[in-house]
Symmetry: D2
Subunit: 409 residues, 4 copies
């Protein structure tokens, strides 16, 4: 006799292998809604700064599910009760948590579907899939919405130490080659426990939590908010804006059907019906890149110039400051560019602009991390840390940037 239940696995450069737990999840992965994530870059345009960062939402979703399986094994070993149905629900919830991301993930979050965030769209996808799969996603949806009555299940999907973060920090660090962001997800997971229905970290894990918060902060400033990445993202946003502008003025702007729909229509949250979802599901990085490539030849100077900049990686100059940009400096750049290229004020604003970026490494008011003391008391990690001033990490740090053409001074 041959034992024949087949182990469905994906190779993963980080974890070695990712095992698909059952047939339902296998089918969800095979659905076009999920396959589309293969064409959504996890880190937006960061690959223009870190050439290895071409990994996708597809791979991140699988990775998060893998960590969820590990976490479940640890918690069950420690005596936490989780039913088989809950296990499946957790795996599905984490697998689909980001399915609503549009092209280039966060980079275009409010450029394409202006008034709806990706979590809402993820939920629409999950509900559509729930119909297709005859209600078998109901428990997963309840967890995803944070409404399931065992809080720690919700927290495994969405909290400061959820499997999403534990995967994306590790994965982004791995693919960018920025070793400082590498977190020890495995170790953190072995230190999870459940107290009074909440996910907590055992006391010996305190240094690992600190390390995790530091790594996260590091990744924000060094990678996610890298100034060259910011200028790339701003170009992308401005290209879409300009294209919409001239489309609404009646000019021809070539692009895919799905992209055209979202450029022509402003979709509000309540409008998001199955038909719009279906159109959205056809939209990915390819639509946007193909449009930008073709718009390099557009008659509009602003549009074609911005597109050429992005495609050929000939960016605007960007300066990052700790205080707001000096008004006089900003005006000087605007004046020179306006004159040099003979532009209107509105057009000039596409090439000379400013903005700010913010990050808070730890938010103890919204999503704190509880440490389980040996005396069985819970304490916030910011208080438990003997030395590191984690309160300082709770402060929002703001930086200011200005962008302008390299030759404008």
């Amino acid at each position: 006799m041959i034992n024949s239940r087949k182990l469905k696995i994906f190779n993963d450069p980080i974890y070695g292998f990712i095992t698909i737990p059952n047939g339902l999840i296998f089918d969800l992965i095979g659905h076009p809604y999920f396959q589309r994530l293969r064409r959504i870059s996890q880190m937006g345009l960061s690959y223009l700064v870190y050439p290895g960062a071409h990994h996708t939402r597809f791979h991140h979703a699988l990775g998060s599910m893998h960590l969820m399986q590990n976490a479940l094994q640890v918690l069950k070993y420690k005596g936490v009760e989780v039913s088989e149905a809950e296990e499946e629900g957790l795996c599905i919830a984490i697998l689909l948590h980001d399915i609503g991301h549009g092209p280039f993930s966060h980079a275009m979050e409010h450029s394409i579907v202006e008034s709806t965030d990706h979590e809402h769209i993820s939920l629409q996808f999950m509900e559509a899939l729930n119909k297709i799969f005859n209600g078998r996603l109901t428990l997963a949806i309840s967890i995803f919405k944070g409404q399931y009555d065992k809080r720690f299940l919700n927290q495994l999907v969405s909290s400061q130490l959820d499997m999403d973060r534990l995967d994306y920090l590790k994965r982004d660090s791995f693919y960018t080659g920025v070793a400082e962001g590498n977190i020890n997800s495995e170790r953190l997971i072995t230190m999870l426990n459940v107290v009074d229905g909440n996910l907590v970290v055992e006391e010996k894990g305190i240094y690992s939590v600190e390390k995790f918060l530091m790594a996260r902060r590091f990744m924000y400033w060094q990678v996610y908010l890298h100034k060259t990445g910011i200028v790339a993202e701003q170009l992308l946003i401005r290209i879409l804006k300009r294209a919409k502008e001239i489309m609404h003025e009646g000019q021809v702007v070539v692009c895919s059907k799905a992209l055209r729909f979202f450029m022509e229509n402003r979709i509000e949250k309540q409008d998001f019906d199955l038909e719009i979802l279906s159109t959205f599901s056809k939209l990915d990085d390819v639509d946007v890149l193909a449009a930008i490539k073709s718009w390099q030849d557009h008659d509009d100077f602003v549009l074609s110039t911005l597109c050429e900049m992005l495609i050929n990686r000939r960016f605007l100059k960007v300066k990052l400051k700790n205080s707001p940009i000096d008004r006089a400096v900003f005006k000087k750049h605007k004046a020179r560019v306006k004159e040099k290229y003979n532009l209107t004020d509105q057009e000039t604003a596409y090439f000379v602009f400013e903005g700010k970026i913010e990050n808070k490494a730890y938010d103890r008011y919204h999503q704190n991390i509880n440490i389980l003391r040996k005396n069985k008391r819970l304490i916030d990690v910011a208080k438990a840390s003997d030395q590191l001033n984690l309160k300082a990490l709770s402060k929002t740090v703001t930086k200011y940037y200005i962008c302008y053409p390299k030759d404008s001074v």
Copy 2:
């Protein structure tokens, strides 16, 4: 005083950092011709089998240049004379060796530009860049063409153990997560030497060379010739073929300008002038993917069906055999599909087809590897190996495949 020569570096998940040796090379990397490689997948459609395999030709080219710098350091340490001009030439030659690749690298090699291989196009790019950079690529071109009078320089760029192979095997193994293909490029490089103007491997490196050949064979059968990858590639090729067919019949086929040019015209090697090169330089994975996405809605049943299959990863069934496909089986599948979907013979051939794949792990007649014995004699690795029957690796292995719709039987 501050020391201020700036170290230009790229992060690389494999080597840590890749250093750009000088300003000319920095400018070549910045040129749109080279930036385009950011949009050419290194492994074609293999990411549909190995979800991590989204790395690009851009990154591989930088990685090869990094290994070249290492090899030069080793050889110079051992007393091999290499001038600064030769060093620069080598770095440029390896950096640009693959610049002529079209969309999806090898997968479409003869689908888009039918009668010209990527090496020839690489050369056109290099000559165009040589004009732009005032002849500073002349030495690099001579090395690339294998015409430079120090043979080992040519061999570092193109031979069984060139820096191209040492990078791509390692890189493809890394990104796919297929650890068996991981070669020890660093070790192999420390064992290189030059005898009578030829690149050789020192005797103690013999096991490493064997390991390299085995890893290469492994990657071929397990990754490059993976049956699911083959069916994906065949779909891609057939989609282009079908689109050309119906375009030539006069139907509208939406696609980018650059892609249209190559679909409408059959370019012969001698035609490849600067203008065609310029059009080619605008063509990358995005053009092809965008076309396929849009063709999912085409009226032609064959085209739209093939495109949907590829986008949603709903492939034909593929079987791999050690002997040619049985005629009766093949005919049976054809007949059923033809009837079921009411197709012509010509149309049926898009859904039921066969082919063969071949690989030879070591080619001792064309590009052998010489081992330097302690007695200063050279010997072919296939003879030097005490036990492993490397002669067996020189044999071409052929496998046969058949593809047909999953539901056709």
Copy 3:
């Protein structure tokens, strides 16, 4: 309520964490018999060639148990039935499989206890522990002896692809830094299955098995049989031999009590009672190294010279040949050394000697590896491999060495 079953873990640089499955195994690890393995070098004197190779039998035993847990998870997933008692038995059997190793593992295997191999001593330890732990090791002992009636359990502990090999190849490769020996233990394990009670590898694992055999062969020739390692090992063996010789002549030879016992007595297999086991359990690398350090000052020229050589890593010259050492050359070295140092023939033989080393990468007659074809047939890997001549790997390769003082010619 707090969930409180404690996860007992060891950090491992290779697998991240090793989990201790239960209290019995935790107690076995804590027993002095097992703790002693912390003082037994896994690779004998190889650290004199590869300075990273200081890992111990203790760590290897834990690592093998970790892989066993993985293998059990895979097999159970595939539907193979394994009871909890069998799981525990397997973990104990693999944990203790090498507990009988003496100082420097294989290097001194027949120098200290001349007529008994380490497997036999392992069994004595297991039986002694079985008494201490009230018979709870009975099933483990049955598996260790290969007498348990489910053959695949025995094969997981001892066969061509047992967890011992899968750990030691990976671990030795890791600590030496010889990347070529790195095998993908995890992948091989996912491809295990059971057919008719025997452990087999599924067909898609064939390249991985080949890769494993190649890596093993590589490690043998490059690491385990490294010529500098051989001369170190021969010095060690000869030091013990000389020390016994002069001890039996009545000279004072300072050493630990346990070492003295085994130097003074020749222990036959049948003599190995609990008292001798207890003495053996006090013997480890420290006893031997301390003795050698002190013998550097011994009056006997041969003994003190050999000890100084080993401690200060001033080895004899060693030459490795594919054919037996030339008689004339050997005699010439002997004559010169004898004259130069004014030695007897017997003494000279300590400084000028020869020997041979052998390795067979794959033994298809004694422990073959069965591949499970898709047609459910089993086939030996040497036949299943399409191209690689694995039959060649079944051939025994012999090399010959000669050692003599560096200044003797």
Copy 4:
């Protein structure tokens, strides 16, 4: 013609290969004084907590030299002038910086040679080697003493960011498997520069410096000051103390000649002549372990019990507190142990004792790290950090421990 300068390399699991720059350094490594470091554990007894941590001072010294070579390459590329003699001096200084360590490195620092620290002994070794190698270490000694007139050379050998720390943190993290301590030495090195003769870090390196300080703090609390490691170290210190005590009372205490010398004599700094150095050079972990193994059978209850505890890893219970140990608790433990084992007060103190451990992650007053701003100004990293309260890291953290037999309460 064959190019034949031989590349002398060591395999290293961390850096791949370590290259020996020249013949003098090769000879220094071969000297018995340096070979002795193969028998000195880098992390003392930490392997009793982290079973992978068996790496040696020998390997760490080679690793530090490797990083020094990298740092020199970076600095020279940036235009910092370093002569060939200075390069050699730097490599020798870092290679030998720890040669004065005694058995178990820091663990026994003031137990064996009570009044002399390892730096002083390192200097004695270097001066002795300088005589043997005819003054070729003079420049290295000047750098090692911090007296060379280019300050940054001294700082590369001894400062907050010296090559010693960059190697040991990475190496200890690697071998323990504690990933959180893994620092990106390579990245930090690429960001080094020299301003006004001092080593500085370029501004973009600020997050990496923070990460380095955090990793260092992590390793201190999680590894170097691990409570189980502390109790092991305290046992070791108390064993030596007890053995001296009873030796001075006239009892026989078996041990090696070298160890006996240092147990019988209290060596003051000024006494450290060539003869004492020669005796010291014969002392390593083996002498201490062999003694402890044999002392398990000593008549003295205290000595034999402590030795058995250490060898069999049956430690005292240890509790770690943030405030000093409660007097009443301490007395209670003492009274119980005294009574239970019928001991004197002096003897009891060997089994019930307390102590404190301290760590300061960053010492801005003694060895600050300067960040080079883009405006060319230097600023202390504690001020440059935007958010992380590095001042908090400058605070000394103190913890208190108490040890007592497990069964005493």
